[in-house]
Symmetry: C2
Subunit: 80 residues, 2 copies
């Protein structure tokens, strides 16, 4: 089963990388951009055919490794 | 308007970071994971209310800055 995990910074956490990208976009002419936030996506293949079990296991992975829950939120979804 | 951009490595491009994450997941007990690929998400706010114009402009940003088209694919969608 293929799953997709989105890890994004929590709303109130500063995102210097996003700011840098916004500035670069402005510099090359995209003045209409008012905000950029950067996050991560993980595409995982798991040897497990049960949707619920896959989702639960992947949430565990997020809590233990993929996301830093102090500053990040995560979302898991079935990709296929 | 809020848009979301997904940038992922093309299928045939090696992803050492993904492999490292897979190994780490194995090491902490998630043996069922057979593959991990890592990508990026960007959440952009644009001062533009026309959906088509926003999408086109964001695609331009991907081609010029956000994605490296030699090794990466991108996907743009309206977030809200």
């Amino acid at each position: 089963m293929k799953l997709r995990v989105y890890v994004t910074l929590k709303k109130d956490v500063l995102d210097p990388q996003g700011s840098a990208i916004k500035n670069s976009l402005h510099n090359i002419g995209f003045k209409s951009v008012s905000d950029v936030r950067q996050g991560k996506v993980f595409e995982l293949n798991i040897n497990e055919n049960d949707e619920n079990k896959s989702l639960k296991e992947t949430e565990e992975m997020c809590k233990k490794l993929l996301a830093n829950l102090t500053i990040e939120d995560f979302k898991v979804e079935i990709a296929e």
